[in-house]
């Protein structure tokens, strides 16, 4: 039985790690701006496309990777400046619509550049190699993803707790107006948040697309939504919450894909019943359940509205 | 307990405590308001006055205590769950055996309690007329279908007539078709009152009706409140900082400080009360 389940856990942990890196971007932005940055999943996709084109241009890969991260960060920064900053005093619905608009724009832009065809992601040496864990074989990237995620999260938590900008972020997420009055440069803090979020999405995209090596304009939509669900599940605003939520969702999703097999092995069903159909839908069911049962998520703090 | 005891009791708060987390915003507040009275609730900023309003109107569920309206308990609660340990007020055991009662604000309004807001909350995309007209919605007899197919024309007409009359009474007939938020401050306050009146209340809660008004406007407002009280046979419960207004029109006054009631009485009694002067008026003069 363990041999049957193990491969699903393995791919679940790997994909969960990649969701986690995207989820952090969502949770940080939401923590500060109370905005679901619908375009974040597309930033992740754009990072993938940039890699494709940089590699195709003949640059060596060791140069491509930092360049991709740099450009992704720039994209994230520019999106915030162009599409969210002008709407800072507008109703939340307007900002959310703007986010949807940015997502739409990025997807269409990539559709135009690629001509609507899948692009093959370059093969990054070492992490693309196959290795064996027990009976299962997988890419090296699958194994290193969770460790890399944990390392990055630790670094991020240190950044938030020990540095000045981290302190400013915490202050702004607690009380936007007051921190502004206290002389915190709100725009810098927000930019920093977007830069960190985009950087992590860039790292996530390298890991994700090394595993599933084609990029198309819609590649970011589903991982983006799932990462958002992970952020809500973990308690939006909480970084460890987002990471744990992402791992749970990654694992559950893959278990669902393999549920037919597991039931089959247990002798409960004789033929697949198509439960894999619900692998995406399940994530959203989880979201709705958590919103109803515990709207603040696993680790979120309660916020009361003033009348 | 002075002159009004022989009249019917409209509202009674009994041992109301409201605790947010560890903060006790109102501590064991008891008070009563009788038919036809104008009662004021005063106190320094942050004393818990608006919280008391919110407990009565169903916006908050008090942690402990009972609110009676025309003798009916409309809010009943006692500390539950985590709050049993955390509870910082008194009389927490008093209602432990009573079934909690809670209503949403709209139900409370249905029962006949209407309110205005400290930070004016008019419907900003609507005209003055429409704002008041919305107040008539809750007494409708039509359902969605009859309303959509205009089978309720008679009722609609009556509501429009009532709205027009109310606007006339509050002196806003000439600006009926202006956007509510484009009106000057004083008129917005009056409009909020008109809107509240449209719900056919028996008890009107006014949350700082004179805030931001100059002395002349404040005087006019006082006359206006007395006038509508008589005209609609209302009982008025108001929070107010303008002492002139409070002293002019109130029958009785309750004074709140740090969530606790520190005094109660007629305007004359309150003005002479040393506790009030120390805690409130003295502070206010600085």
């Amino acid at each position: 039985m363990w041999d049957t389940i193990f491969p699903y856990l393995l791919s679940g942990v790997s994909v969960g790690g990649q969701y986690a890196l995207i989820a952090i971007g969502y949770t940080m932005v939401y923590g500060i701006l109370r905005l679901i940055n619908f375009a974040h999943g597309d930033v992740f996709m754009v990072a993938g496309i940039i890699m494709v084109y940089l590699a195709a241009s003949g640059l060596p890969l060791w140069l491509c990777i930092p360049l991709v991260l740099l450009i992704t960060v720039a994209v994230g920064f520019l999106i915030e400046r162009a599409a969210y900053k002008p709407l800072r005093s507008a109703p939340r619905m307007s900002v959310m619509i703007s986010a949807i608009g940015v997502s739409y724009t990025l997807q269409n832009l990539v559709l135009y550049i690629t001509g609507g065809l899948n692009k093959q992601y370059p093969t990054i040496p070492w992490i693309s190699e196959t290795m064996a864990i027990g009976a299962a074989k997988t890419k090296v990237v699958t194994v290193i993803t969770p460790f890399l995620v944990i390392a990055l999260v630790v670094a991020l938590v240190l950044l938030i707790n020990k540095t000045k900008i981290g302190m400013a972020m915490r202050a702004v997420s607690k009380d936007f107006e007051t921190s502004q009055l206290m002389g915190i440069k709100i725009n810098n803090v927000i930019s920093a948040t977007f830069i960190i979020g985009s950087f992590l999405a860039g790292v996530g995209s390298i890991l994700f697309f090394t595993n599933y090596p084609t990029v198309i304009q819609t590649s970011g939509a589903m991982p983006g939504l799932k990462a958002f669900v992970a952020a809500v599940f973990g308690g939006i605003g909480s970084i460890p919450g987002a990471v744990i939520g992402a791992f749970i969702i990654g694992i559950m999703e893959n278990i669902i894909k393999g549920l037919d097999v597991i039931l089959f092995k247990l002798g409960i069903i004789a033929q697949p019943v198509g439960l894999a159909t619900f692998s995406d839908a399940f994530t959203f069911a989880l979201l709705i359940i958590i919103l109803i049962v515990k709207p603040t998520g696993l680790f979120g703090e309660k916020v009361t509205d003033k009348v | 307990m002075s002159k009004a005891t022989n009249r019917e009791q409209v509202l009674r708060l009994e041992n109301i405590t409201m605790q947010f987390g560890g903060v006790v915003a109102i501590n064991n507040l008891s008070m009563e308001i009788n038919q036809g009275e104008i009662v004021a609730l005063i106190g320094p900023n942050g004393a818990g006055k608006t919280t008391a309003f919110n407990c009565v109107t169903g916006v908050y569920e008090p942690t402990n205590g009972i609110v009676y309206f025309h003798g009916e308990p409309i809010v009943v609660n006692h500390p539950q769950g985590k709050m049993i340990k955390q509870y910082g007020g008194i009389n927490g055991e008093l209602y432990a055996n009573r079934k909690p009662v809670a209503h949403t604000p709209d139900r409370i309004t249905h029962m006949g309690i209407a309110r205005t807001f400290q930070n004016i909350r008019l419907f900003k995309s609507q005209t003055a007329f429409e704002n008041v007209l919305i107040g008539t919605h809750l007494r409708k007899t039509s359902n969605m279908f009859t309303a959509t197919f205009r089978l309720n024309a008679k009722e609609e007409k009556a509501n429009r007539k009532k709205t027009a009359e109310l606007l006339e009474i509050v002196g806003l007939a000439d600006v009926a078709n202006e956007l509510a938020t484009s009106l000057p401050y004083g008129k917005q306050r009056r409009l909020e009152i008109a809107r509240a009146l449209a719900t056919d209340p028996t008890l009107l809660l006014l949350d700082e009706p004179a805030a931001g008004m100059n002395p002349q406007e404040t005087d006019e407002l006082g006359e206006f409140i007395v006038d509508i009280k008589n005209r609609f046979n209302l009982t008025v419960f108001m929070i107010e900082h303008h002492m002139n207004l409070v002293m002019d029109i109130s029958d009785r006054i309750y004074v709140l400080d740090f969530g606790k009631q520190i005094a109660e009485g007629t305007p004359e009694e309150i003005q002479k009360n040393p506790v009030v002067i120390a805690a409130y008026l003295g502070v206010d003069e600085e």
């Binding site: 959310m96 608009g101 269409n108 839908a281 | 916006v59 919305i134 309303a147």
Partner: protein, 369 residues
């Protein structure tokens, strides 16, 4: 104390609408039926209804729902399931032995059922979801739309929904044309009928918006706390708006099925919802006229006027640069972003056609600024 509005703008508006219907009818009889104009008009009518139904929620009630595609899916499927001629079912449900539904209902009944089914789903979804606050509500409804999609694609329901496979063969817009004995069309109605269906539905929505209930919904949008204090039951009214909006989204879904002639769950994605949302935004959140107008504009641009951006164009010997597949959508996105960022009120703001025609509105418009 006079609340009397001038009746003139209203009469002019009605006259204009009647003129549009007559023009559609005449155009249909005279212009070749293959003209792109009719495609745009048909699809525009469908989108107009769906956009107005979304506006009822997002614009008039202030509920930011992103579940429209899900409700359209329900409507489209219910319409398909109940109207595919029995004789064709064996072919359509080829992997499910012809399916288990072996009867049809009249078209109008099927459309009403489409709406009711969508409203029913909305009712179920609304119970938990409507308690949520703005953006949580948006993401939850988006999630529900995805769940609905997965359910309809599930092969376990294949005998009813045909699994993930296409439904087709049901009556479509062309079946409204009146033909003589030889199958030649005598009177073209394939554009007029969708106009009439959408028109009636939108009329109902407008009547609702202007009724006492509509005012209550607008009050909720403007200020929930104050609305509740005015005795408006938030849960009840929000659910009402949610179900009604979904009802019409369901009818819109049925119309989309008729337009497309086939239905398949996989095309009802969140991208479709976003598209409708952007139509609403362009038209002006809170304006029925705006939604209708921008639906036709959006459809015309994407299906017709801007198509040339997707193909190579030569002016003399000069090849216009940048033009190739996808450029149309880039131009489109840029326009949308401009509207979202700089013209947040959209084409119409929250004004309606009669407002434009009357002087009072001009004053109202200024007051808002």
């Amino acid at each position: 104390m006079n609340q009397k509005k001038s009746k003139v703008p209203m009469i002019v508006t009605l006259f204009l609408i009647a003129a549009i219907y007559i023009a559609v009818f005449i155009a249909e009889q005279t212009l070749p039926s293959t003209s792109m104009l009719f495609t745009v008009l048909k699809k525009g009518a469908v989108y107009a209804l769906v956009a107005v139904s979304m506006n009822l929620l997002n614009g008039f009630t202030g509920i930011f729902s992103l579940g429209q595609a899900g409700f359209m899916l329900v409507g489209a499927y219910v319409y398909g399931i109940f109207t595919i001629p029995v004789a064709q079912r064996a072919a359509v449900y080829q992997y499910f032995d012809g399916g288990i539904v072996q009867f049809t209902v009249p078209l109008v009944v099927a459309m009403i059922l489409s709406g009711l089914a969508a409203a029913f789903f909305a009712f179920l979804i609304g119970l938990p979801v409507l308690r949520l606050k703005s953006d949580y509500l948006a993401i939850a409804t988006l999630g529900f739309a995805e769940i609905i999609r997965a359910i309809f694609q599930w092969n376990g329901l294949g005998p009813v929904t045909n699994g993930s496979n296409m439904l087709r063969g049901f009556p479509n817009f062309n079946d409204f044309n009146i033909t003589d004995g030889n199958g030649n069309v005598t009177v073209y109605l394939s554009t007029l009928i969708p106009f009439i269906i959408a028109g009636v539905c939108i009329l109902l929505i407008v009547l609702l918006i202007n009724s006492s209930y509509g005012r209550a919904l607008k009050a909720i949008r403007d200020d929930e706390v104050a609305a509740e204090a005015m005795g408006i039951n938030l849960a009840h009214h929000k659910r009402l708006a949610f179900c009604i909006s979904s009802f019409f989204a369901g009818v819109g879904g049925a119309m989309l099925a008729m337009y497309q002639t086939t239905v398949q769950a996989k095309s009802f994605t969140s991208a479709m919802t976003y598209e409708i949302l952007l139509i609403v935004v362009i038209g002006g959140i809170g304006s029925v006229t705006g939604s209708v107008f921008s639906s036709f504009l959006f459809v015309a641009c994407s299906e017709w006027w801007l198509r040339f951006l997707d193909e190579k164009q030569l002016i003399g010997d000069f090849e216009v640069p940048l033009l190739r597949t996808g450029f149309r959508m880039v131009v489109f996105s840029v326009i949308i972003m401009i509207v979202v960022l700089f013209f947040r009120r959209g084409i119409m703001g929250d004004k309606e056609l009669p407002d434009l025609l009357s002087r009072r509105a001009a004053k109202k418009g200024r007051a808002v600024k």
